[in-house]
Symmetry: C2
Subunit: 346 residues, 2 copies
């Protein structure tokens, strides 16, 4: 089985071409290059400018307010938790921890995913218990290991005391009483929908074949041919389906997981959902260690190798892992300066 798969994803003729191109230190022959781009375009697409939502249209007023609220610690029970607590800008909106830490040092069940390019997934977080980024923001304020506030009313009162009233009125002009947790969620969600980080891979997909290097192209080829792209597809390279972590072998046999996580089973209680997680997006993955739902692996190369092993039954070679890493590096995006600029709070 493994042998067949290997053979199918890197035919010998093509491998020879790659080697020749590699030895010569030149670009791949243009027909091979063009074929790779054509193949890539069938699976991926460049990022949109905004991850829009019919339910929550993105407006400048909502985005401005949402950005402020993302940094607002004073609406958490211990005054220390804001969205950026677990999603700090400097670490590409992830936090570098194995599992997120919320109010009063409470450990969250899973690793903080980045907020960049995250708003067009089938759900937020790992197990499908947050419908979308707005639902995530909505649930966070009273979530016991998140902001931990006693009620929505307490949050709304605090927002008014802090002087957010006029900003909510501007962002939600039709509302009689705009300062609500519902609107907090809409504003935060609207800002998140602008968090798009175009990367060299987008330039490549748009036709600039020099935007990613030769090693990255070989990694892209392997990534598609090995089967990674079966799940990690779309402009986001993931986020579009749930999948069992450990199709071929239990994940904890390869990760350094401290415990087994039942995954989506926690939500559905369906036996078929045990160890099932949302397929994470891979945008900026080189910048958002540690990896997996429990942050059990620090090295991207090791994470790639484990994925080959437990999802595809493949023992990726060191060279293949290196190439895939180079491809994943090409997913590290440019962060617009507007996004990097901290808002000043009332």
């Amino acid at each position: 089985m493994e042998k067949r798969r290997r053979k199918s994803y890197r035919p010998m003729a093509e491998l020879a071409l790659l080697i020749v191109a590699g030895l010569a230190g030149t670009a791949l022959g243009s027909s091979v290059d063009d074929a790779l781009l054509t193949q890539a375009r069938q699976v991926f697409a460049p990022l949109p400018e905004v991850m829009s939502s019919a339910k929550n249209p993105v407006t400048p007023e909502k985005v401005k307010l949402g950005k402020m609220l993302l940094y607002e610690t004073r609406i958490s029970i211990d005054g220390q938790v804001s969205c950026v607590k677990c999603h700090p800008m400097s670490l590409y909106l992830a936090d570098g921890l194995k599992k997120a830490i919320g109010n009063n040092c409470k450990v969250n069940p899973r690793n903080s995913p980045t907020l960049f390019n995250a708003a067009s997934q089938i759900s937020a977080h790992w197990i499908g218990n947050r419908a979308d980024v707005e639902d995530q923001a909505r649930q966070a304020v009273t979530g016991p290991p998140a902001f931990g506030m006693p009620s929505n009313q307490a949050v709304e009162l605090r927002l008014k005391q802090l002087g957010y009233g006029p900003l909510f009125r501007q962002a939600f002009p039709g509302d009689k009483e705009p300062v609500t947790v519902e609107n907090f969620a809409r504003a935060v969600g609207a800002f998140e929908r602008t968090l798009v980080t175009p990367a060299p891979f987008d330039a490549y997909l748009k036709g600039n074949q020099g935007a990613i290097n030769q090693t990255a192209k070989m990694g892209l080829k392997t990534f598609m041919d090995a089967g990674c792209a079966a799940c990690h597809a779309s402009p986001y390279l993931g986020g579009q389906m749930y999948q069992k972590f450990g199709i071929v072998a239990p994940y904890w046999q390869y990760t350094k997981s401290a415990d087994k996580d039942d995954g989506r089973y926690v939500v559905t209680k369906n036996e078929t959902d045990r160890y099932v997680f949302k397929v994470p997006i891979l945008r900026n993955v080189a910048k958002t260690a540690p990896y997996f739902h429990d942050g059990s692996i620090d090295s991207l190369g090791e994470a790639v190798w484990i994925m080959g092993k437990v999802q595809l039954g493949k023992g990726l070679s060191k060279a293949q892992v290196k190439e895939i890493n180079a491809f994943l590096d090409a997913l590290t995006g440019e962060i617009p300066r507007d996004i990097l600029t901290a808002p000043l709070l009332p």
Copy 2:
């Protein structure tokens, strides 16, 4: 005593002039205005461009590295504490908490002061146990309720693992082994020395008498004549001396302090230093509630009134408090966008 002081700081003739000006809704008569500016210039001065240090010259390379290190959580024992944990940009580099919270939710003994305009004080923090901003950064990494790292060596190893080597080499080109906690402190300190936020009051001191409004000018006059400026002087309106908190009456009779803090006595064990604290700077004070060493007071007006009571033996009127507040508002500075922009970490 109180009567005499009152009389001396607002002579009746001048008060009449102020009232006339107020009723007419016009600016103060120019001779009064000019006299006020002359008086203010004897006590205060505009902010410098950089708070320079002979011991730690500010260079672009140090500033660039220092800014990154300010945001670096991965060199703390729980991976959650960086300088901006207690000094977040969005809250004017203070944290809105009564007392700072460090690693593993450990409560620090005192309130987080802002880092803006903070690097030219006689010492950092409240009680003179941090010589300067560099010393504060140096002590923070192994400080038990701060970063809580077991040793400088552990911090240095982590910095190397994270890939900071080349950045330290650029910032400290003469050093054989540049990745040290000493240089961490120099880099962070160099960045802090650039954190200057010019305010309307600076424009006023430079001669633009329209930069602050009439109420603020009345507050400035009261601030100087009442005696506040005896301690809160210099470009920073404080930070140049230690002073007993509660000269006229024990502070805890007026604040909502949960306990008595011995202040500088903790450092010197001199009885005369009991309840003595560094006079805090007042730059951006309107943005950095709560107030005092223990964050016991939320309202700036209440803090001003208490200071009048316990330091000067004066019961400031509501109007005087309002005017002083307007003056303190004029100390809220513009934060350059470069400073607000988050760095991306290795």
